[in-house]
């Protein structure tokens, strides 16, 4: 995939001026160094399906990673692709994998292990001193959309904040815990794979989805209802 690094050197101050500033005291130099460290760079590109079609409105995030031992914690703020699938991210120096999703059309959240193996191609970018343009993010296989309604058995009243766990039927370690809204509703894009579902809520017996595994593809919708019995 084409990943172009901007060759222009980015500086906060002109070189000639920086040279003159070198003659100034150390405090000033320290401040400049700090200013350089928090500089944001632009990463831009397009979100496409595997067939090369742009994905308007896709949600794009830059997932940070490091090479070697240890790890990275993040608070990621997604940006929305425009009507031609184009996006721009503002990022600090570092290594990122650019990921995208289009949950309204069944392209699930790639942040979850549950979505692994979809065939998506999420490019890695390393930002050092330049913007990065023309990044292509290729979504994986299209899954579907689950619409779940959790209610109380008998009264049929919705159960706010009920939990539904969607699990990979072939990999118990890959799952997502979903939280219902105030009306007991959940909508979630799932990958194209066999899934099991369990609903639970405080004060109620948990319930496994009785009709077995759920498999969705091609952006199909599936409506499910759980009737939980009070303990």
């Amino acid at each position: 995939m084409p990943v172009h690094h901007d060759r222009r050197k980015l500086r906060l101050v002109p070189r000639s001026r920086l040279l003159s500033l070198l003659l100034l005291n150390l405090c000033v130099l320290t401040y400049l160094a700090r200013a350089e460290a928090v500089r944001d760079y632009e990463v831009s590109g397009t979100v496409l399906t595997s067939s090369g079609r742009a994905v308007p409105g896709a949600s794009v995030i830059a997932w940070p990673f490091i090479e070697g031992e240890g790890g990275v914690a993040a608070s990621l703020h997604p940006v929305r692709a425009d009507h031609e699938g184009r996006f721009k991210l503002k990022l600090a120096r570092g290594s990122y994998q650019i990921r995208a999703k289009d949950e309204l059309h069944g392209y699930p959240d790639p942040s979850f292990l549950l979505s692994a193996g979809s065939g998506a191609r999420f490019p890695n970018v390393k930002i050092e001193e330049a913007d990065v343009h023309d990044v292509q993010v290729i979504l994986g296989e299209q899954g579907g959309i689950l619409r779940v309604y959790v209610r109380e058995q008998g009264t049929m009243r919705p159960i706010a904040k009920a939990k539904v766990v969607v699990r990979d039927a072939r990999d118990a370690e890959a799952f997502v815990e979903l939280t219902a809204d105030e009306n007991g509703n959940i909508q979630f894009a799932v990958p194209h794979k066999a899934l099991t579902l369990v609903a639970e809520a405080s004060g109620y017996s948990s319930q496994v989805f009785q009709d077995g595994e759920v498999i969705l593809a091609n952006g199909d919708y599936r409506d499910l209802t759980f009737d939980l019995e009070r303990n």
Binding site: W63, G71, A74, S111, E173
Partner: protein, 514 residues
């Protein structure tokens, strides 16, 4: 003739009454007892007796036409030192009013004297047809060092009345019952005890309080508004709105109000209900109306920078129990930090994000009415915490969470939340399109071996919210270890006061304990 003192050395509570009666004439009179406070400090005292009946009684009193009263002022110095007493009599007849100043007199400690007001009236210094007077006296000493009583009885003690002295002046008086029929009449008086003019309003309520009769009058210092309710009914006197009292009305309540001084008034009051059958007159005291401790209506204040906000001060009026807007009484409006917000009038102007305290001074009649009837008017200083700009970012919803898709060789967790920019009280900072940024810094515990410092930006929607994904991937996962991370949010380029504590684990992420 003498005085009576009841001492309570242990400051016990005691209810005492003093009654004087004459079996022959049937005279009976309550003698007011004055409360003395040993811890009180000497100061200037001005006392008023608003309804001293003069020699020729008002026809409204219903006394026989031949009745002549002897107006007298009884004075006793109950204090430890001699004191100089100044006395004035503000008289009034049907058409005129005036002032007669008596010679100041010095009273030794324990001395008792009676000042005769009949003589100056007989000599013409007070007009003979003047029926009423307000007695004003002044002295320096502790409260109730001087015991005054103003009385007017005929020589047989058959007909007469007394008027109590009081230091009380108020913005509003809530009166009890007035009563007018063939055998009763009521006089209601209010006077201007201040040094400048004011507008007094007297309102008679009737028909169960549903209807009212209202008289408004501008009063010079010392001047009175006088209502002979029987005459108002009998002569169908119109009020300030052109209304009259229905002729068959017999009872009701009343209220007196200082229209020009809504917070600390300068009206004194008096009421007299006459039983014409027996020639007895009973004085009634109205209650001065009190405000509760004033407060800022919006407290604490939280708002965006560069905005104007009209402040409101409120207080509950003990008369009626309604919440009153007392903003106009505020003065010395101030902000503790004008770089954050200015408050030089009831308009608060927010300048820049940060915290400050707004304050104002206001004097209101408030608190327990003192034993001498005085209505205290302390100065209050309400304050208002000011929070300009947002205070924090907190998650308001978690839509999904679970094991993260991490680079090969590592594992972790991801949690999708809706974050919201908030004021300190947790309410939404509902500004659309505001860019907020955050910086994650590794804390003191880092068992997952986290590296680096992450930064990012987000844009708020109309309710101040925005989506956020918290994630962690580590080669140390799976494990039971955790790492503390500090999340500093910035809005308007200014760091928010609250820093989030985020705990990253291989199988959970908590934000500020949630």
């Amino acid at each position: 003739m003498g005085g009576l003192t009841v001492l309570l050395p242990g400051k016990e509570s005691l209810s005492a009454s003093h009654i004087v009666f004459d079996e022959v004439t049937g005279l009976a009179a309550m003698m007011k007892l004055f409360y003395r406070e040993t811890d009180d400090k000497p100061r200037n005292h001005s006392l008023l007796a608003p309804m001293l009946a003069l020699s020729q009684p008002d026809r409204g009193l219903g006394f026989p036409a031949t009745t002549t009263l002897i107006p007298q002022i009884f004075l006793r110095n109950a204090g430890p030192d001699s004191t100089l007493v100044s006395l004035k009599v503000d008289w009034r007849n049907e058409t005129k009013s005036g002032e007669f100043v008596l010679q100041p007199l010095t009273l030794a400690s324990g001395a008792v004297t009676v000042v005769n007001v009949e003589d100056p009236q007989r000599s013409g210094q007070i007009p003979g047809d003047a029926s009423w007077a307000t007695v004003k006296l002044a002295y320096v000493g502790k409260k109730a060092d001087l015991i005054p009583v103003a009385i007017s009885y005929d020589k047989e003690l058959r007909y007469g009345l007394q008027t109590p002295f009081s230091e009380a002046m108020s913005r509003m008086w809530a009166g009890g019952m007035w009563h007018v029929d063939s055998t009763h009449n009521t006089f209601i008086a209010t006077g201007n005890g201040g040094s400048g003019p004011t507008t007094a309003e007297a309102t008679l309520f009737y028909n169960g309080g549903k209807d009212k009769y209202r008289i408004e009058k501008k009063l010079a210092p010392g001047e009175q508004l006088w209502l002979d309710v029987g005459k108002v009914l009998r002569d169908q006197v119109v009020d300030s709105e052109g209304r009259t009292l229905p002729p068959d009305t017999m009872t009701g309540s009343y209220e007196l109000r200082d229209l020009d001084h809504p917070y600390v008034g300068q009206l004194y009051e008096g009421k007299l209900v006459i039983d014409k059958t027996y020639g007895h007159a009973a004085y009634g005291c109205a209650s001065c109306c009190q405000y509760s401790v004033p407060y800022f209506l919006v407290n604490p204040f939280a708002g965006p920078p560069d905005d104007d906000f009209g402040e409101t001060l409120e207080s509950t009026d003990s008369c009626g129990g309604l919440v009153a807007n007392v903003t106009d009484g505020g003065y010395d409006w101030a902000s503790s930090n004008t770089a954050i917000a200015t408050l030089s009038s009831p308009t608060l102007h927010t300048v820049a994000p940060g915290s400050a305290t707004g304050s104002v001074a206001i004097q209101l009649q408030h608190g327990r009415v003192l034993p001498n009837g005085e209505c205290p008017a302390p100065v209050f200083g309400p304050t208002q915490p000011l929070a300009v700009g947002p205070y924090q970012v907190e998650p308001i919803d978690t839509a999904s969470q679970g094991p993260a898709q991490c680079p090969s060789g590592s594992a972790g967790w991801v949690r999708n939340v809706t974050n919201q920019l908030q004021y300190q009280n947790g309410s939404a900072y509902a500004v659309d399109g505001l860019t907020v940024s955050d910086t994650l810094s590794i804390g003191s515990t880092n068992e997952l071996g986290l590296h680096g410092q992450q930064t990012g930006q987000a844009t708020t929607t109309g309710d101040g919210s925005f989506p956020d994904t918290y994630s962690v991937c580590s080669t140390d996962c799976p494990s039971s270890g955790y790492s503390n991370v500090l999340q500093q949010w910035t809005a308007y380029g200014v760091p928010l006061p609250h820093v989030n504590g985020v705990v990253y684990k291989c199988q959970s992420i908590t934000i500020d304990g949630n």
